[in-house]
Homo-oligomer: 194 residues x 2
Amino acid sequence: MNREPSVEEVDPRIRRTRGLLQDALGNLLQKKSFDEISVQDIAEEATVNRATFYAHYDDKFRLLESMVSRRFHELLAERQVQFDTTCTSMLQTFVLAVCDYVVALLGPAGDRRVEPHMESAVIGVLQFTFLTGLRARPRKDGAPADLVAAAAAWAMYGAAKEWALMDPRPAGEEIAGTIVALVAPVLRLCAPSL
Amino acid sequence: MNREPSVEEVDPRIRRTRGLLQDALGNLLQKKSFDEISVQDIAEEATVNRATFYAHYDDKFRLLESMVSRRFHELLAERQVQFDTTCTSMLQTFVLAVCDYVVALLGPAGDRRVEPHMESAVIGVLQFTFLTGLRARPRKDGAPADLVAAAAAWAMYGAAKEWALMDPRPAGEEIAGTIVALVAPVLRLCAPSL
DNA sequence: CGACAAATGTTGGTTAGCCGACATCTGATC
DNA sequence: GATCAGATGTCGGCTAACCAACATTTGTCG
């Protein structure tokens, strides 16, 4: 009945400051390209001191990663992705969300120099979500959940990116089924006997 | 060559916090009426602690006043109201801005209980702007600038409000000329010899 | 009426953010 | 190369924001 006594409560000022910095970068990215944006610009746009920026992020690449992570995480939350009943139906939702996000990332203002940072961020969220889901139901076979989650996350992102770069690009709904069929077996490693 | 050594520099955190609180109230007012909004609601929406609210405003009415002041001030700034050459042309701009703002205030969600607070805020901005303009050009006649600014501000607002409440309301551009004709003499008190 | 819940103000101790100031490290110009 | 301007990091001292706790006010219900 007690709700999570220690979920690592965060100081509201920290939440606010990071949110401000992430939103500031998001706004600036709609006017300039990433490498035209300085830390000073971000700090100013966020109404935050430059020194405060460095108290939260090592550089603007880290900020970019955390921004992409958070937004992708919110996207998943909006679509109410959950890890409980039928895996395949959930995977379908997942894949569609990833496809949408990848298209948005690589779309009009696709900056090839910052792609890797965004990719690792997206994959990180996927991996974390898979891992959380896998941990939620105890298994007793030999495949380590870490490895399973990693493989599934990279596979799904890789497939989605490959699709996003096709020139006459098929509809997302079509390709989603295919990708699910590819990734499901990786996750199923936990389900059947080893 | 030295630029204003002491313009009363304000701590950026204070600027930010007040902006957050004002924006929060603005957002909440699009969902609830003013008296349904608690200080707690505002603080939460602004991601600011409730105690911090009281460090800046005595109550939500003061916040409302400051919000209206700031927004009206920005509206004037956008339309580049200035006090230099021909008074009448400037007054025209002024009156139109006031009319627009009054209509917005008393319009769809006109809450009669909070009107006075908004009115005093708008009048305050008018008064301050007039006063600044009057001070900018030194005069040597007997009428105190304070009184002139106050009379002009109240007259202009009163006329604009009266117009805003007319049932078949004439176009703002028509009535503006009339109001200018009413208010100009009050300000002119400084111009001709006493 | 009393009782209770919820919002309002207030206070002192703790923490995050702000501000110079400084030391790099670029990159452009002469 | 030398020099200069601007961006990047870092640090100690000060200040504003957070929080928990408290007393007070308000409003609602039995």
